[in-house]
């Protein structure tokens, strides 16, 4: 099943910083469908944003510094974002590898936090965020159609 409008609207609300709306939409998502569609959308958005933020030649030191920068922005992020895990996820993505030994829920939550940081760095206007979400949804749909 492809990504739904509700799933896209939920992630978009979060990335736009509309937290109340995000919480409301998230609570209304079909939990079974979210396990595939929403998860794929977050993963695709993370891939696109990370690809744009970390070009070829990015070193582990660059990633460590960036994660430190993200965590230093708010105590709540510092507490929720495990730096070593965050670095592993980014470095694995840059190496086109699937990080082993991380439970899916933790991996999803970490990617979501990192995605929020990556989008905050880009600081897109509503149109820019809309274009980004459309690309992410298209990529997620491609993955979902391939996985049947």
């Amino acid at each position: 099943m492809p990504v739904t409008d509700e799933q896209e609207a939920t992630l978009r609300a979060q990335l736009a910083g509309r937290h109340e709306e995000h919480r409301r939409l998230l609570a209304a998502l079909d939990p079974v469908a979210a396990r595939t569609g929403y998860n794929a959308l977050v993963t695709a958005a993370f891939a696109l944003a990370a690809d744009s933020r970390f070009p070829d030649g990015t070193t582990p030191a660059d990633v460590i510094t960036w994660v430190g920068d993200i965590r230093s922005r708010a105590e709540s992020i510092a507490a929720r974002l495990d730096p070593h895990l965050a670095e592993r996820l980014i470095l694995a993505f840059l190496a086109s590898e699937e990080p082993a030994g991380i439970d899916p829920r933790t991996r999803f939550q970490t990617r979501l936090l990192l995605l929020a940081g990556l989008i905050a760095d880009q600081d897109p206007d509503p149109e820019g965020l809309g274009r980004f979400m459309a690309r992410a949804r298209k990529l997620a749909d491609e993955w979902l159609s391939r996985s049947g």
């Binding site: 430190g68 230093s72 730096p83």
Partner: protein, 294 residues
């Protein structure tokens, strides 16, 4: 009770390789209730031997190679020969470390005598402090810490930082737990100086990230969350300690190098002086820390 001539003689016999002679004398010491003093003497000898070892290896070009601290084949405390060598005594592991260290020093008779004299003086100081219930950081420990910090920042040589880390492991394992207290005090004073006059949690996070990004070893070895936690505590924030004691200790050890970078001469003197005052206060608040073996 101060260290006795028999205790010094027993250690000398052991270091000279007279295992049987040492065994006989050790039995006498044990039956006379002198094991505790002997244990302190061994720990003190180890503490005295470390600066000697470092002096010798840091002043002659390349430092000790990675194998320099490797145990001799018989120096595994689990083997029968090691048990024979140390008579299964609780301080046996320290004895093995001491022997190993002396192999690296290759002391002449005169150096060995001086080492034993200094060790006896230090052991007497520790025993007297224990008896009076007064705990203080002995001079030799400050010297060892100074040596450690100097080696940590020395240029050239074969990985002086690794040598220094091994040195700390040796000192800590010597049972002279005061070194650990002094290390904590140096870490605290250095952190406060680094982040003076004011700091924010964000600065601490970025600082740790910068340190970890400095080398693959730092990135792998330094637990970011534990490091941030230890810095916050050192800076006076009332937060619970990181739950992993090993990660806490490692974080302090690995942060000491960047925190003290640039400290030389007078700066280092002042840092050590402040740290010693703090360590003495810590020990006065909890004297058991000095005599507690590891």
């Amino acid at each position: 009770m101060p260290v006795s001539d028999d205790q010094v003689a027993a250690l000398r016999l052991l270091l000279a390789g007279d295992i049987d002679g040492h065994g006989r004398l050790y039995e006498q010491i044990s039956s006379a209730g002198g094991r505790e003093g002997y244990t302190v003497l061994v720990a003190a000898a180890l503490a005295e031997a470390i600066p000697l070892y470092i002096d010798q290896h840091s002043s002659t070009g390349p430092g000790p190679g990675p194998d320099a601290f490797r145990y001799r084949s018989h120096a595994d405390p689990a083997t029968d020969s090691a048990k024979d060598l140390t008579h299964g005594a609780p301080e046996g592991f320290q004895v093995l470390r001491l022997i190993e260290l002396l192999e690296g020093i290759q002391p002449c008779e005169e150096t060995l005598d001086r080492l034993l004299t200094d060790a006896r003086r230090l052991a007497d100081q520790i025993l007297a402090n224990q008896q009076r219930g007064v705990a203080a950081i002995p001079d030799v420990m400050v010297t060892a810490m100074r040596t450690y910090l100097s080696v940590l920042h020395a240029d050239g040589g074969a990985d002086p930082a690794e040598t220094a880390r091994r040195l700390v492991a040796q000192v800590k394992a010597s049972g002279v737990a005061g070194f650990e207290v002094l290390a904590l005090a140096v870490f605290t004073v250095a952190a406060r100086r680094r982040f003076a006059p004011a700091w924010t949690p964000a600065e601490v996070i970025r600082y740790v990230a910068r340190v970890r990004s400095g080398s693959p070893e730092m990135a792998a070895q330094l637990d970011a969350v534990a490091a941030e936690n230890q810095l916050r505590i050192a800076l006076g924030q009332d937060v619970p300690p990181h739950p992993d004691a090993a990660a806490r200790g490692k974080a302090q050890m690995f942060l000491l190098e960047p925190l003290t970078a640039g400290s030389a001469g007078g700066d280092l003197d002042s840092l050590l002086s402040d740290a010693r005052v703090m360590a003495d206060e810590m020990l006065a608040a909890s004297p058991a820390a000095l005599s507690r073996g590891r």
